[in-house]
């Protein structure tokens, strides 16, 4: 039972980070129908920002919790700025071009950002400080639920609730939903679509940075390549839940996290990623629009 709970909670924390990254994919896809391949790299840059802030503040002797808070804030702001800039350089000039062109420039951007971090920082793994302190009241549950797992789940949950409220109730959120439904129509009723797209990238990148800092502090090391596999898995999560759907991305992330965690725990740890992709293939064959996606009839 304890083993089960351990797998359950590690799957939950992993899944919520996947969900955080998947939200960026799904929001961008919902609005401009582009797989933003550079999104995983934004997540990686978020983790690096967290590392740099943590390093500087630690040498200044700040207390652990305030370092974590500031690292999160700076990482989110910088990643959001990166997301905004990436859109302006690599995707905006390509609006209206053939469909594969933005995808290729996204792959190019992903390669560019990876190598930029590799050259500016280091190609090796860097140790990441444990920013999340072990709380004493968590002591009795230590064997299956670490403080950092709990912290990751709670932070992701709060972020996702905030996002949902933002999308539901603010003017910007309304404009985003309108643009996702029909971009031309939204333009006609006076939505500034360029602004909406920029905002989507900013929010998505910020969410990825939260995931990046949290998971880096949990695992304890980062390098320039972590964005790639995390990005693919998060995209898998987004497709799993039904791409374009925000609750779908959250559900997809959790399903993916649990699948990986239980499959590695009970079957074999060598094939962790194989399970994720097999799950994806199966779901797409039987429910091509994803778990929460709507099956839309094609107009001719």
């Amino acid at each position: 039972m304890e083993y089960f709970l351990q797998l359950f909670f590690s799957g939950l924390s992993k899944g919520s980070v996947y969900a955080l990254i998947a939200l960026g994919y799904t929001m961008v896809y919902g609005i401009i129908e582009l797989i933003n391949f550079a999104h995983g790299e934004i997540y990686m840059i978020g983790a690096f920002m967290g590392l740099i802030v943590a390093g500087v503040l630690t040498s200044l002797g700040w207390p652990a919790l305030s370092i974590l808070a500031l690292a999160l804030v700076v990482a989110v702001l910088y990643s959001a700025a990166y997301g905004y800039t990436v859109e302006k350089i690599a995707y905006k000039p390509l609006r209206g071009a053939q469909r594969l062109a933005p995808l290729i420039s996204a792959i190019g951007m992903s390669i560019l950002l990876q190598n930029y971090i590799m050259l500016a920082q280091t190609p090796d793994f860097l140790p990441f400080p444990h920013l999340i302190p072990d709380l004493s009241f968590m002591e009795p549950y230590r064997s299956y639920l670490g403080t950092s797992d709990l912290f990751i789940v709670v932070t992701s949950l709060v972020t996702m609730v905030a996002l949902t409220l933002f999308i539901k109730f603010t003017r910007m959120g309304k404009a985003m939903r309108a643009t996702a439904q029909n971009r031309k129509m939204a333009m006609l009723v006076g939505v500034n679509v360029d602004q909406v797209i920029s905002m989507t990238f900013i929010i998505g990148s910020g969410l990825a940075a939260v995931g990046g800092v949290l998971i880096a502090s949990h695992i304890g090391q980062i390098n320039f390549y972590i964005g790639f596999i995390a990005g693919i898995k998060a995209f898998t999560a987004a497709v799993l839940g039904g791409i374009g759907s925000i609750p779908g991305a959250m559900l997809g992330g959790l399903v993916l996290g649990w699948t990986e965690s239980f499959a590695t725990g009970y079957v074999s740890s060598d094939y962790e990623d194989v399970f994720a992709f097999c799950l994806l293939v199966l779901i797409l064959i039987f429910r091509p629009a994803g778990l929460l996606g709507k099956q839309r009839a094609q107009k001719v």
Binding site: A54, V56, S105, Y116, V281
Partner: protein
């Protein structure tokens, strides 16, 4: 007017440079070591970044102005304006002598240049065929395949394993690899028949990852990450060549295969199947309404593309005599896709040019070895922004009816 645009461009570039310097500041300037608790400040990098991004932004804005003006001209001139490059190479009076010249150079290459150069050219030729294969799936049939490298791996492992266990020769395995490749193409094709667009992309990506992970982890079958070594080079009726002669030999095999692939794909493009693919790419539903068997056309595109990839896999294994799963990563798939898209989707000549550019450029840029992947990524973005249809635009065959003879 011109002075005004220059002034605004200068201002825009200055703002862009400041913004980029601000963005890159933490990563470029600070390096922390959290174990020793030391921080290195590298302020000089900020200065380089400011200057560099100012110049780049200036060029970027200048090019953007030109691009927008070009677009305006194209729109007013209604009808498709072809780029100068593609008009030049598509002109038969240029094309034919160029092909003859290219063939002579290619035939004489191993006798004139060193073995090192020949080896590089062999890998470029391998990528030409891979590009042509993916061009069938992506360029002609419009099925975005991000796991193409899996078929390449199938061919390479087919030769490596059959050679290792049963000592089968290159020429025996080559057709077997091709058949195995087409089988795998259909195997992937069936489950994804119903998917379209980006779902297809992610499933094929997953398929590629699965193949790589299985090769990495199934030690009894594929010898895991350490791979298979001592694969024999191709022989001819029992003759075993020295390393140098074998390279030349593989080069000529590759040259033959490239010509075969070029002729086949160019002919296929204008055939009944080829036109079915184009129809499929443009509109699946209309295509079905015209009485084209979608399932058949899709499966054929997948399996033909896979056949070429698997054949190349066998050649690759024979050339390097050592393979491991690290050669078959997603980056490889992305590279082949980049060849197709940069060259010009659907255009055979474009794919050849793309393969040479993308394989030879990094090879000869070894002087900047650290920066070459950075430059590679930047090139992909720049080409897509300024030439989204690729270097050479594909030409559709046009049938003209001569009204006078009717």
């Amino acid at each position: 007017m011109a002075a005004l645009t220059i002034a605004t461009n200068l201002k825009k570039s200055a703002i862009a440079a400041l913004w980029l310097a601000f963005l890159t500041m933490p990563v470029m300037v600070i390096r922390v070591d959290t174990v020793e608790n030391t921080i290195v400040w590298r302020w000089m990098h900020l200065v380089y970044m400011l200057g560099g991004s100012f110049v780049l932004a200036l060029i970027w804005h200048f090019m953007m102005d030109r691009r927008d003006r070009g677009a305006a001209v194209r729109e007013s001139a209604d009808g498709e304006a072809e780029g100068r490059l593609s008009r030049f190479v598509n002109n038969p009076r240029v094309l034919k002598p160029m092909l003859a010249f290219g063939f002579i150079v290619a035939a004489a290459f191993p006798w004139v240049f060193s073995m090192y150069q020949t080896n590089i050219l062999i890998s470029a030729l391998i990528y030409v065929v891979l590009g042509l294969g993916l061009n069938i799936t992506v360029g002609l049939a419009g099925l975005l395949d991000l796991g193409y490298v899996a078929f390449y791996a199938v061919g390479a492992y087919a030769y490596a394993l059959l050679n290792h266990h049963f000592h089968l020769g290159f020429w025996t395995v080559l057709p077997m690899a091709a058949i195995l490749g087409s089988f795998f193409g259909i195997l992937l094709g069936f489950p994804v028949l119903r998917l379209r667009g980006d779902y297809l992309a992610i499933v094929t990506l997953g398929f590629g990852q699965i193949v790589k992970l299985v090769l990495e982890n199934w030690n009894d079958f594929s010898y895991g990450p350490s791979g298979i070594s001592n694969i024999s080079r191709p022989g001819l009726f029992g003759i075993n060549y020295s390393v140098e002669n074998a390279t030349t030999y593989i080069y000529y095999i590759m040259l033959g295969l490239v010509i075969l692939a070029i002729v086949t794909t160019a002919r296929l493009k204008d055939s009944r199947v080829g036109r079915a693919w184009l129809a499929l790419r443009e509109d699946e539903i209309a295509c079905q309404a015209m009485g084209i068997d979608n399932t058949r056309a899709k499966l054929m595109a997948f399996s033909l593309g896979a056949t070429l990839a698997a054949t190349m896999g066998a050649v690759f294994a024979a050339k390097t005599t050592f393979i491991n799963p690290a050669s078959f990563t997603f980056m490889e798939s992305a590279m082949i896709l980049a060849i197709v898209v940069l060259g010009g989707m659907g255009s055979v000549l474009g794919v050849i040019l793309g393969a040479f550019l993308l394989i030879l450029l990094p090879e000869y840029m070894r002087a900047f070895s650290e920066y070459r992947m950075l430059l590679f990524g930047a090139t992909m973005i720049v080409v897509m922004v300024f030439r989204p249809e690729g270097l050479i635009k594909a030409r559709r065959k046009v049938y003209k009816i001569n009204t006078e003879t009717l």
